[in-house]
C-alpha cells in the first residue's frame, strides 16, 4: 500500500508566503490568548488542593458542596470527573491555611454523614471502611481516589524550572544541529520548535484546558517529535545539496520535502494512532497529556514541512554552505 503512487511534486516552498501568513495568524492568536487569558494552570503550578472521590452511586455535586460547606470548607469547586459517580473537588490556597490538613478534612467531611471511618485494606483492592462503632462494613461508600496537595512554595519553583527546561532543550538542540548541519538549519529547527510549542500552548489557552505537569511533559515530548520530523527533512536537503548539481535552492528543497513526504505522513499516522488510543482509552488523568500530544503532533508535522525549510531558505542558505569542507592534506586534489 502507498499513500502516494509516485514521488510527489508539490510546490511546498512556493507556498511559503501563504504558510507564513497561516503561521503568523496562528502565532498571533496564540500569543494574544496567552497574553490576555493566560494558561489555565493546574495546582501543580498554582498550589492548592485537589481531591477526587468516587461514590458507590451517582451523586449530585451541589450536595457534595453543601456537605463540605457544612464542615466549614467553603470556596471548594466541585465537579464531575468522567462519570456521575466520580467527583473532583478543588480547593484554592487559602490565606493562613496553607497546610496539608485540608485534604484530610475534605475526605473526613464526606465520610461523616455516612458514618464511615477508613479501615486498613489490602493493597491493590478497594478501600474498606468501618462504621463509627468499629464494625467492618466492607467497601467504603466514598472511595478516596486521589489527593494532590501542592504548597505555594513548590508551585512557583515548578513554573520556573519548566521554563528553564524548555530553554535548555532548545539550546541543546541548537548546538547539536549547528554542529551536524549548519547554523541556518539550527535556527530553522528552533524556529519550527518555538512555533509548535507556542501554538500548542495557544490551543490550551484558547480552549482553557488545564495545564498540568503531564501536559508540560507532553509539550516537551512534542519538541522531541517535531524535531525528529524536521531533522529527517534537513538530512535529505543536505544530501540533495551535495548530490544534485543542477536546480535552484528552492527546487532542491522542494524535492527533499517531497521525497520525505511519505515517511512524514506515515510516521504521523502511526503516532496519531497511539495518541488517539491514549486519549480514548487512557483514562481521565492522561487526557490532558494526550490532548497536548495530539495538537503537538499535528502542528509538528505541519511545521516540519511548511516552517522549518522555508525558514532556512529565508535565512539565505546556498549550495556552497552545504558542500563538505575539504579535508586538510587533500587540498591539492583537483575537484571534479
Amino acid at each position: 500500500m502507498r499513500f502516494f503512487e509516485k514521488v510527489t511534486d508539490f510546490d511546498f516552498l512556493g507556498r511559503r508566503r501563504s504558510a507564513l501568513i497561516v503561521s503568523l495568524v496562528l502565532l498571533a492568536i496564540s500569543a494574544g490568548s496567552l497574553g490576555i487569558r493566560g494558561l489555565n494552570f493546574g495546582i501543580d503550578f498554582t498550589g492548592g488542593t485537589l481531591v477526587e472521590v468516587s461514590y458507590a452511586e451517582a451523586v449530585d455535586p451541589v450536595k457534595v458542596r453543601s456537605v463540605l460547606a457544612e464542615a466549614g470548607i467553603d470556596s471548594a469547586i466541585v465537579q464531575y470527573f468522567g462519570t456521575s459517580k466520580d467527583i473532583l473537588i478543588r480547593l484554592p490556597v487559602v490565606a493562613g491555611q496553607a497546610s496539608a490538613e485540608r485534604s484530610t478534612a475534605v475526605v473526613q467531611a464526606l465520610r461523616g454523614p455516612i458514618g464511615e471511618v477508613l479501615a486498613e485494606s489490602p493493597e491493590g483492592g478497594l478501600q474498606q471502611c468501618r462504621s463509627t462503632d468499629g464494625v467492618l462494613v466492607g467497601d467504603c461508600t466514598v472511595q478516596m481516589r486521589r489527593v494532590e496537595f501542592v504548597g505555594p512554595q513548590v508551585g512557583g519553583e515548578l513554573t520556573e524550572k519548566g521554563g528553564l527546561a524548555m530553554l535548555y532543550a532548545l539550546i541543546g538542540i541548537l548546538i547539536y544541529v549547528a554542529i551536524r548541519f549548519e547554523w541556518r538549519f539550527a535556527i530553522g529547527a528552533v524556529v519550527a520548535l518555538v512555533h509548535d510549542v507556542l501554538i500548542t500552548l495557544g490551543v490550551f489557552s484558547v480552549l482553557a484546558l488545564e495545564f498540568s505537569l503531564p501536559v508540560l511533559a507532553a509539550v516537551l515530548a512534542v519538541i522531541g517529535y517535531s524535531l525528529n520530523d524536521t531533522i529527517v527533512v534537513f538530512d535529505r536537503v543536505r544530501d540533495n545539496f551535495r548530490k544534485m548539481r543542477k536546480g535552484s535552492v528552492v527546487a532542491i528543497m522542494n524535492n527533499s520535502v517531497n521525497q520525505t513526504l511519505p515517511r512524514t505522513v506515515l510516521t504521523s499516522v502511526t503516532t496519531l494512532l497511539v495518541v488517539l488510543t491514549l486519549l480514548l482509552a487512557g483514562g481521565e488523568i492522561i487526557k490532558g497529556f494526550a490532548s497536548a500530544l495530539l495538537v503537538g503532533v499535528i502542528i509538528g508535522t505541519y511545521s516540519s514541512i511548511f516552517v522549518a525549510s522555508p525558514a532556512v531558505l529565508m535565512l539565505g542558505i546556498s549550495r556552497e554552505d552545504m558542500l563538505p569542507v575539504p579535508k586538510e592534506g587533500v587540498e591539492g586534489d583537483p575537484l571534479p
Partner: protein
C-alpha cells in the same frame, strides 16, 4: 555475498534479546497478597521468629503459600486477601511488641528468577496506590534553637572568664547581643568568645556605639546545623514510618532542606500526616491543690501556677515546675487495661527520670499529678492570595503554634518508679499514636508537608488497567497498519516492535526504575514512534527500487542511506528526553525514562534486528521484486 548477516551480528542480537526476554519474564506472573514483618527498631528477625510466625498461622488455620526469611525481614504469601488480612491481625496481636507487620504485594514470580536479580518492574505510587509527601524542614527554627543554646554557652563562658555582663540575649534580627558591664574589657570578651566558641562570628569586634557586641552563627555553623537537622529528621522520620507498618517505605533527602517520604499502600493519610509532622513531647507537672481554680479563672493566678486545659476544655490549675519531660522516656507501649478496659500507654523512664519520679511520687501520695501533652506546629504565613509571605531576606515567614493539652491528672496512689502507666485516653488508636510519638524521638526541627500526592488503591488499579489497555490497543493498531502498508517488510517491523516492547520492559525491570502512569504513556508513545526508523529505511528501499535498482542493491543502499538520518533524528529527540529527565520531578521523570529507553532500544531493533531478518529471508537470493 550481498545482504548476508555475519555470525557475530547474530551473536550480538542473541546476547541482547535472550537476557532481555529473561529479565522481562517476571512481569508475567503478577502479585500475591502478602505480609511483611520487620523487627522493632531495625532489629533482625531470625529463624526463631520465622518458626513463631508459622506456628501462629498454622494454629489458627490461616492458609499461606510460603514464608521466607531474608535481609528485609520475613515475608509471607497468601492466596487470598482475606487470609492476608486475617494473618496480619493475628500476627500483630501475637508477636513481640514493636514488630512491624505490613500488608504488601509480593511478586509471584518463581524464586529462581528473583535469585538472579530478575524482578518485575517497580510500580510507582500512581499505579499501586499510596502516599507521596514532600516535607520541608524549618531551618530557621533549628537556627533559633542553636542560638538559644549559644546564649547559655556565652553566659557560662564569660562567667568562667570573670568577664561581667549586663545582658545576653537573642535579638530580633537573627543574632545574639552581648552587653558588658564594663566596655573596657571588650577586647578580652572578644578573645574569649573567639577562643572557646569558634562557631560564632563577631560582627563588630570594636563594639557598637552602645557598647554592645553583636554575635551571630558563622555560615559554616549554620551549614553544619542544617545538615545535622536534616539527617536527624530523616532518622526520626524513618523511626516513625517504621511504626506505621509500611512494607517498602522510601525516605530520601531532596536538596538541602527537603525530604521525600513515599509510603506505598498507605490509605489512612490522616494518620500518616499526624505522625510524620508532629513534634510532640510530654511534661509531668503537679496539680496545684493549694489554690482555688475559681480564683485563678477570675484572674488571680497564684505565682508559680498556670491554668491548663483538658482536651474537652475543662480547666485545671497546674504548678509550672516541670518534674520531668519526654526526654526521660526510653520506651512507651500502648495496650488495653485488663481491669478497666480503657486504653493505656505504659511508659518506661531512664535512670534520671526514674529517680525523680520515685522522689516526687513518694512525697506526694494522695495528690494529683498531671500529664501535659505539648505539640508544636509551624505553618507558613500566607497573604490574602495564598502566597507565602517573605521577610526582608527573602525567607518565608512561619507562624508557630503550640498546642498544650492535659491528657490526664490522676491521683498518685503509690510511689512510682521506672515504669508507670498513663490512663484516660480516648481510644486504642490514640494510645497507639501517643506511644509512637514518645518512642520515635523528636524532630530536630519542625517539618511541614509542602506537597502531597495520594492515590487510592482502586484508582491505582484502574490506572494499571487503562495503561495496559492503551499499550495493547495502540500496539495492535500499529501492527495491523504496518502489515497492510509494508506487507512482508511490515511484518519484520512488527517483530522488531514487539521485541522493542520486551526490551523496554526488560530494561525497566533491570534498572528497577519506577514505572509511573506518564511512564506508561511514554511506552505507548514509543510504540508509535519506534516504527519511524523502519519507515525511514523502507521508504528509502522503495525509492531505490523506483530508481530502477535491483532488489538486493536497494536493500543494501536503503539501510545504508537511512542510517545517518536515523541517528540524527533519534539523538536530537534523546537530547529533549535527557533535559526532561534532569528537570523532572516524579511523574515527568518516569516519562523521560521510558522515552529515552524506547529511543535507544528502537534504534537497535530497527537497524540491527530488521536487517538480520531481511537478510535471512531475502539475502543472497535472486529476487524479481520485493514485498514492500
Amino acid at each position: 555475498m550481498r545482504n548476508h548477516t555475519p555470525w557475530w551480528k547474530w551473536l550480538i542480537i542473541a546476547v541482547v534479546i535472550v537476557p532481555g526476554a529473561f529479565y522481562a519474564l517476571p512481569n508475567l506472573f503478577g502479585d500475591d497478597p502478602g505480609v511483611q514483618l520487620r523487627g522493632a527498631r531495625g532489629a533482625r528477625l531470625g529463624t526463631a521468629e520465622l518458626g513463631q510466625v508459622q506456628k501462629v498461622l498454622e494454629s489458627s488455620e490461616v492458609k499461606y503459600k510460603s514464608a521466607v526469611l531474608d535481609d528485609r525481614g520475613i515475608r509471607v504469601r497468601f492466596a487470598t486477601t482475606d487470609a492476608q488480612l486475617q494473618a496480619r491481625d493475628l500476627l500483630e496481636l501475637r508477636l513481640a511488641s514493636g514488630t512491624t507487620v505490613a500488608l504488601t504485594l509480593l511478586p509471584a514470580a518463581p524464586d529462581w528468577l528473583s535469585q538472579v536479580g530478575a524482578l518485575p518492574m517497580y510500580l510507582g505510587l500512581d499505579l499501586r496506590g499510596g502516599v507521596h509527601f514532600l516535607l520541608e524542614v524549618d531551618m530557621q527554627s533549628a537556627v533559633r534553637r542553636a542560638e538559644d543554646r549559644y546564649v547559655a554557652d556565652l553566659r557560662s563562658t564569660l562567667r568562667e572568664a570573670k568577664i561581667r555582663y549586663q545582658k545576653i540575649g537573642r535579638d530580633g534580627s537573627g543574632g545574639i547581643t552581648v552587653v558588658l558591664r564594663d566596655p573596657a574589657v571588650l577586647a578580652d570578651a572578644v578573645d574569649e568568645i573567639r577562643q572557646t566558641l569558634p562557631g560564632l562570628v563577631i560582627a563588630d569586634a570594636k563594639g557598637s556605639a552602645d557598647g554592645a557586641l553583636r554575635v551571630r552563627l558563622s555560615d559554616n555553623e549554620v551549614e553544619e546545623l542544617s545538615q545535622f537537622a536534616l539527617e536527624q529528621n530523616i532518622t526520626a522520620l524513618r523511626n516513625r514510618v517504621d511504626q506505621l507498618g509500611v512494607a517498602e517505605p522510601v525516605i530520601q533527602r531532596q536538596g538541602d532542606r527537603r525530604i521525600v517520604v513515599q509510603l506505598p499502600g498507605v490509605q489512612d493519610t490522616a494518620r500518616a500526616k499526624r505522625i510524620l509532622g508532629r513534634t510532640a513531647t510530654l511534661e509531668m507537672m503537679m496539680v496545684d491543690e493549694e489554690h482555688s481554680l475559681d480564683a485563678a479563672l477570675s484572674g488571680k493566678v497564684a505565682p508559680g501556677s498556670k491554668i491548663f486545659r483538658f482536651r474537652d476544655g475543662r480547666p485545671i490549675l497546674l504548678k509550672k515546675r516541670v518534674i520531668y519531660s519526654g526526654e526521660n522516656i526510653v520506651d512507651a507501649a500502648a495496650s488495653i487495661d485488663t481491669q478497666s478496659g480503657g486504653a493505656i500507654v505504659s511508659i518506661t523512664l531512664d535512670a534520671i527520670g526514674a529517680r525523680i519520679n520515685q522522689k516526687i511520687t513518694g512525697k506526694n501520695i494522695g495528690k494529683r499529678m498531671a500529664v501535659l501533652y505539648i505539640e508544636s506546629k509551624s505553618t507558613i504565613k500566607t497573604d490574602v492570595n495564598g502566597m507565602s509571605v517573605k521577610d526582608a531576606d527573602g525567607r518565608t515567614i512561619r507562624v508557630k503554634q503550640r498546642i498544650e493539652e492535659v491528657i490526664t491528672a490522676p491521683v498518685i496512689r503509690d510511689q512510682l518508679g521506672k515504669r508507670f502507666q498513663i490512663e484516660g485516653l480516648d481510644s486504642v488508636d490514640e494510645a497507639r499514636d501517643l506511644s509512637l510519638m514518645l518512642r520515635a524521638g523528636s524532630l530536630a526541627a519542625p517539618v511541614e508537608i509542602i506537597e502531597e500526592r495520594t492515590v487510592g488503591p482502586s484508582l491505582g488499579q484502574a490506572n494499571i488497567d487503562q495503561g495496559f489497555q492503551s499499550v495493547i490497543i495502540g500496539f495492535a493498531l500499529v501492527l495491523v497498519f504496518m502489515a497492510i502498508y509494508y506487507r512482508v517488510f511490515g511484518l519484520f517491523a512488527n517483530v522488531a516492535l514487539a521485541l522493542n516492547l520486551v526490551m523496554i520492559v526488560a530494561v525497566l525491570s533491570l534498572l528497577q526504575a519506577t514505572l509511573t502512569l506518564p511512564g506508561v504513556a511514554g511506552i505507548v508513545l514509543t510504540v508509535g514512534m519506534a516504527v519511524d526508523a523502519n519507515v525511514l529505511i523502507f521508504e528509502r528501499i522503495r525509492e531505490e527500487l523506483r530508481n530502477g535498482n535491483t532488489p538486493q542493491a536497494s536493500i543494501h543502499t536503503g539501510y545504508e542511506r537511512a542510517l545517518s538520518t536515523i541517528v540524527d533524528a533519534n539523538l536530537t529527540t534523546l537530547i529533549a528526553a535527557i533535559v526532561l529527565f534532569n528537570f523532572g520531578t516524579g511523574p515527568i521523570k518516569g516519562f523521560a525514562v521510558t522515552l529515552s529507553i524506547g529511543i535507544l532500544t528502537s534504534m537497535f531493533t530497527a537497524i540491527v534486528l530488521t536487517r538480520a531478518l531481511v537478510n535471512f529471508f531475502f539475502g543472497g537470493r535472486r529476487l524479481k521484486d520485493l514485498a514492500i
